[in-house]
């Protein structure tokens, strides 16, 4: 059910050209996916996705829209090549899932190997009940440090781009042709 809603939202995103609506719809999409994550037992992820997808990114998009205008112009040409690429990729993926273990199967390899260790040993080794936190901050704490760095890198990037006055609007003099 959720998935169907998601699919509908996706199609809506594709068609609508008023970007305000699209951003709102993207927020809805995020919330729906957060719902999906909850259903799939990924409560932490759902929480985060709701905060990020529906919260931060919506705010950022709205800010960007305020600056960049909110109407999307009609594409000038039929996007056949992208369509082809997308279909190809999709078919490849579907083909790939053919041999994938069935959804939700408890015997799937994913759930064994290291996952078992986390679930069985983490309380003993780390002492906190939320396994996700254990894995996030300890077993794979280094990934999280990388994640923190990514966020920091994004801040540096945004600062580099947006700090200071609006610069060099149209400055053909400073540019060189390459034709």
């Amino acid at each position: 059910m959720l998935l169907t809603l998601l699919a509908a939202t996706g199609l809506g995103l594709l068609r609508i050209r008023n970007l305000f609506a699209v951003v709102m719809l993207a927020g809805v999409y995020s919330l729906l996916s957060a719902g999906l994550f909850t259903v799939m037992d990924a409560v932490d992820v759902a929480f985060t996705e709701a905060a990020v997808g529906a919260g931060i990114s919506t705010v950022l998009f709205l800010g960007a829209l305020a600056l960049c205008g909110h109407h999307e112009s009609r594409p000038g040409h039929t996007p056949l090549l992208p369509l082809f690429v997308v279909c190809l990729t999709g078919i490849a993926l579907v083909y790939g899932t053919m041999d994938m273990p069935p959804f939700g199967g408890a015997d799937n390899p994913v759930h064994h190997h290291v996952a078992d260790h986390y679930l069985e040993e983490s309380y003993h080794e780390i002492g906190i009940p939320n396994v996700v936190t254990s894995v996030l901050a300890s077993y794979r704490g280094y990934d999280t440090m990388g994640e923190t760095t990514v966020v920091f890198a994004a801040a540096v990037g945004v600062m580099i781009l947006l700090i200071g006055a609006r610069t060099r609007r149209e400055r053909p003099g400073g540019e060189e042709g390459d034709g």
Partner: protein, 124 residues
């Protein structure tokens, strides 16, 4: 193709469909903001793929409690938490870039930007 496969893989396929919608928006749309939205959708759908992998039917969230329970796999959750953060980081940089492009070119439509750039190249 049998029904069993359809049932057991239905989730994957919808997720793939969503992924492709996002991907399509990303590569086919000329508006830079819309592209970023597409990227977001694309990435969110990939997250769903991971989470779908981690689900065990009749499992519960991996927060340890008393008694014999089946927990869903926590590892994909962790990976996706990281990925979500990475996603929003990318989005913010992309939007900042779009803003600067708007300031420099007066538009965020790819076609018009290409026209302006072609103009520079011919004129220079």
């Amino acid at each position: 193709m049998n029904i069993g496969l359809l049932v057991s893989h239905y989730n994957y396929w919808v997720v793939i469909f969503l992924m492709m919608v996002g991907f399509y928006i990303l590569i086919s749309r000329g508006n830079l903001i819309k592209k970023v939205i597409g990227l977001n959708v694309f990435q969110t759908s990939v997250f769903m793929l991971y989470i779908t992998l981690g689900k065990i039917t009749a499992g519960t969230p991996p927060i340890l409690t008393e008694g014999e329970v089946v927990y869903s796999n926590p590892l994909p959750h962790v990976l996706i938490l990281t990925a979500i953060v990475v996603g929003i980081a990318t989005t913010s940089v992309a939007l900042a870039l779009a803003i600067r492009i708007k300031e420099a070119y007066g538009t965020v439509e790819e076609d018009e930007i290409n026209r302006i750039e072609a103009g520079i190249e011919a004129g220079g």
